[in-house]
Point group: C2
Chain length 267, copies 2
């Protein structure tokens, strides 16, 4: 898989250039087999990452509603050791969160040494839903692109690796998934009438995503536009991005404690 | 008092241009009288600030050892209502703090709406003691000036007012204060042999302060170089800065709840 097809850095993004239904020429069964191999490899890499204890990894997941953030987390991060992996979901801000700057609740949750943290939604909501629904004046949210780039720059300078994935689905696929939530008794709890209201802002959201991708994809913290109509291909792409990222890091084990060879463990 | 004499923004600072022993032509008694009047005014302004509930104020205090941060906090902030005023002391970082970027512990403590927060030391230690004692490589701490400017910029954009005060004392005054700690049984607990070690780095610290002031004093978050050999003049300067800052803010009270005039309170 050539990740250059999905990685964007510092260029104007037109989302219609990025297919939502790509499958890499694979069928579902072979994609799932490859993902299973990758997650086994990921589990080993993550053990080294934890043992190494000098790196931090932040994974940012953004998507339109029904885009598959929850499923991606379950399928790609589920097989890893929860000891060193933490998922943070950012919901409607609490009153305490709203009494601070919008990066306050986000910064408090960034990974520590040895940790992989997955953001299920993130600070990017503050240039997405906040923009689409005019929750703060345009003058104010427009300044946030720079804040965010500088914030992520600081994290990278100080030792955090950042992986950002936008799960990209078509409007027709969203319709199928919303209908599935209505039809499947196990999924009805996930349906909210607000989902239809949000769907009516589809074009505004696509524009907000395009601007987010254009203004905040940097060399040091690129975005990946993940084709996500096929869940099995989406998982394979995210697992590949994660494997390549972990494999590129220096994950040497800490030095042995001194004189281990001379230790004799008594009966 | 003309605060333009002590305020710096975006220019190269030579600390020898700033007298440590200025007294504004005042004697101790009249300075203390003025400070008492100011702190009474401050207490009223702070009540409005709290009631208004839409502003945030961050006060950053930095000084060389014995520079008077603790005394300034007691004398200027002590008279305010602790309900809306919080002091945060940043000590040697804990292992949890060190496992994150250096701004992590700082960001978590910034003021919420209606709050005045005083930082007793701050993120600036990460370009001061960290620099003087080579705790991280030069390449790394040099990038922090930009991080800090952008971080403070974001806070200001999102509604925080930032007041930064550097308490400026002479080397001779530090000697007197250290000797006083040795001689006064009530102050001996404050003396640490490490203070003499730090004193031997006096020139390195002065250079680090000058660079900090030159690189991070912006129009939106200026530094004040407070003459601090005379404690009573130092307090007067800081109280004046704070009064002028609060008086410049829009501290209108929230709207009355509806129909108050028609309310009759039963027996």
């Amino acid at each position: 898989m050539d990740l250059d097809d999905v990685r964007v850095t510092g260029k104007q993004v037109d989302l219609t250039d990025f297919p939502t239904d790509a499958n890499g020429g694979l069928d579902k069964a072979s994609a799932k087999r490859q993902t299973a191999e990758l997650t086994a490899e990921l589990a080993q890499l993550q053990e080294r990452f934890w043992a190494n204890g000098r790196q931090r990894l932040l994974v940012v997941l953004q998507a339109t509603d029904t885009g598959g953030k929850d499923g991606t987390i379950r399928n790609v991060f589920g097989p890893l050791n929860p000891l060193g992996v933490r998922t943070v979901g950012f919901k409607v801000p609490t009153s305490t969160e709203l009494a601070h700057d919008y990066l306050w609740r986000v910064h408090s949750q960034v990974p520590a040494n040895g940790e992989i943290v997955v953001f299920n939604r993130s600070h990017y909501e503050d240039v997405l839903i906040v923009r689409v629904h005019d929750l703060v004046p345009q003058k104010r949210w427009k300044r946030r692109y720079r804040h965010i780039v500088e914030f992520e720059n600081m994290l990278v300078d100080e030792g955090t690796t950042i992986v950002k994935c936008f799960l990209h689905i078509s409007k027709a696929e969203q319709k199928r998934r919303l209908q599935e939530r209505l039809d499947n008794p196990e999924k009805r709890w996930k349906f909210s009438p607000g989902d239809l209201e949000e769907r009516s802002f589809w074009d505004d959201y696509q524009q907000a995503y395009a601007d987010m991708l254009s203004k905040t994809a940097t060399d040091r913290a690129p975005w990946h536009i993940v084709p996500a109509d096929n869940k099995w291909y989406r998982d394979l792409v995210v697992a590949t991005i994660l494997r390549d990222t972990l494999a590129s890091l220096d994950l040497t084990l800490p030095d042995d404690p001194p004189n281990l060879d001379s230790i004799v463990i008594g009966d």
